[in-house]
């Protein structure tokens, strides 16, 4: 697929990611549906398979999942030219998604730390604690079940439960567990 991007288009891409950055409460992945709407449906800068593959690769790779945004920008750039535009696309989307949220997080964290004795700051941090801990357990649950509760998925459940117990109760290195999971999946048992 080949597309043409002018300066106004690059700017539009940048501004779109600047906006999404502030909307991404709960992680960058929560804004993925909107990125699909913009990049694939509205502008047609990416194909649907390119979009899905970008997310799948970033999920499978080590590192924060936000890197799928770098791949989206990279692929938009590749469609618009060669390696130089791919690098430009990656830079534009990553800077856009990072700058507003990181600035805000840094300032808020610094303010919170300087005022950590204030009752309102302690109430916020401690009050959120049970919610935050439960959210982690819920995230694991959602990742293991996907969008449906299909009994045919029981091996996936078993792997998730066993690895949760091992991590909770032992000091086994996480990479052994991931390797075992990859092997079980490779053999086609999931």
């Amino acid at each position: 697929m080949s597309i043409t991007l002018g300066a106004a288009d690059w700017l539009s891409l940048f501004v779109h990611y600047l906006t999404l950055s502030l909307l991404a409460v709960g992680g960058a992945i929560t804004t993925a549906p909107d990125m699909h709407r913009y990049l694939v449906d509205e502008r047609a800068w990416l194909t649907d398979p390119q979009f899905s593959a970008s997310i799948a690769i970033a999920q499978a790779a080590p590192g924060p999942n936000v890197l799928f945004i770098a791949l989206l920008g990279w692929n938009v750039g590749l469609n618009a030219g060669g390696l130089p535009t791919a690098l430009l696309g990656m830079t534009v989307t990553m800077l856009g998604i990072m700058i507003p949220s990181t600035t805000l997080a840094y300032l808020a964290a610094r303010w919170g730390h300087e005022n950590r004795e204030l009752r309102v700051v302690r109430a916020f941090k401690q009050g959120m604690a049970p919610i935050v801990v439960a959210l982690l357990v819920a995230t694991g649950w959602i990742l293991a079940t996907g969008s449906s509760y299909d009994l045919g998925d029981w091996p996936v459940w078993a792997v998730a439960i066993v690895s949760a117990l091992l991590v909770w109760r032992t000091r086994l290195h996480l990479l052994w567990l991931l390797g075992a999971g990859a092997l079980i999946g490779w053999m086609g048992w999931l």
Binding site: S21, V25, G26, I57, Q59, A60, A61, P62, G63, P64, N65, L67, A70, L71, W74, M94, I97, M98, S101, T102, L104, A105, Y106, A108, A109, R119, V120, A123, F124, K125, Q126, G127, M128, A129, P130, I131, A134, L135, L136, V137, W141, I142, L143, V156, V159, A160, I161, S163, A164, L166, V167, L174, L178, A180, G181, G185, W186, M187, G188, W189
Partner: protein, 198 residues
């Protein structure tokens, strides 16, 4: 001049990053272990191995990182780096979390096309995904101990935690509602309890 008295020993030996390089390398290694999400690794490395922070501190920082827009784990790296070395530390923490993993992701994207249709590769990814789900769950379970001395007391803490889990995992409520509704209520109640103890 009399020598300053040594500070009272803390319950757990605490450590801190030695330098900006230490910070960068630590976060890079951390990020590279994080298949399917980095959070489980962050908790284990920073709290259990390096002891840069206690479980309580981790949960508190995570609450801020979670409520802020943007990638949560990246926010956390930024906040921890900033805590020790100011703005430079924040930028280095951020870079450690992103630069090398970005190169890995690009390399993977470049070879992906050759393996896209391979059922073994797809299966391996599914297997790693299932393990990653378990890792995140276990991280949450481990952090439950950080709630023991919570000002709200065990019954209320358990109620909030169970309601959050049910809302998000079972009923699939939007995260914003849970954070504003349940989180807001928990904060207000905690605020009142903290006033009573002061």
């Amino acid at each position: 001049m009399p020598e300053a008295r040594p500070a009272a020993p803390e319950v757990l030996p605490r450590a801190r990053p030695e330098s900006l390089t230490d910070l960068f390398v630590s976060f890079t290694l951390l990020a590279l272990q994080g298949f399917g999400g980095v959070l489980a690794v962050v908790q284990r490395e920073l709290v259990e191995k390096k002891r840069w922070m206690t479980r309580e501190e981790f949960v508190e920082e995570w609450a801020v990182a979670q409520i802020m827009p943007g990638p949560n784990v990246v926010n956390l790296a930024l906040m921890i780096g900033g805590r020790y070395f100011g703005l430079r530390g924040a930028l280095v923490g951020l870079a450690g979390m992103l630069v090398v993993p970005l190169l890995v992701v690009l390399a993977l994207a470049l070879v992906y096309a050759q393996f896209a249709g391979n059922p073994n590769v797809a299966g391996a990814l599914r297997g790693m995904g299932a393990v990653a789900a378990g890792l995140i769950t276990a991280t949450g379970l481990k952090l439950v101990t950080a709630l023991r001395k919570h000002p709200l007391g065990k019954p209320l803490v358990a109620t909030f935690a169970i309601a959050t889990f049910a809302g998000v995992a079972l009923l699939r409520w939007p995260l914003a509602y849970v954070l504003l509704g349940l989180g807001g209520l928990a904060c207000v109640l905690t605020w009142r309890r903290l006033g009573g103890m002061a």
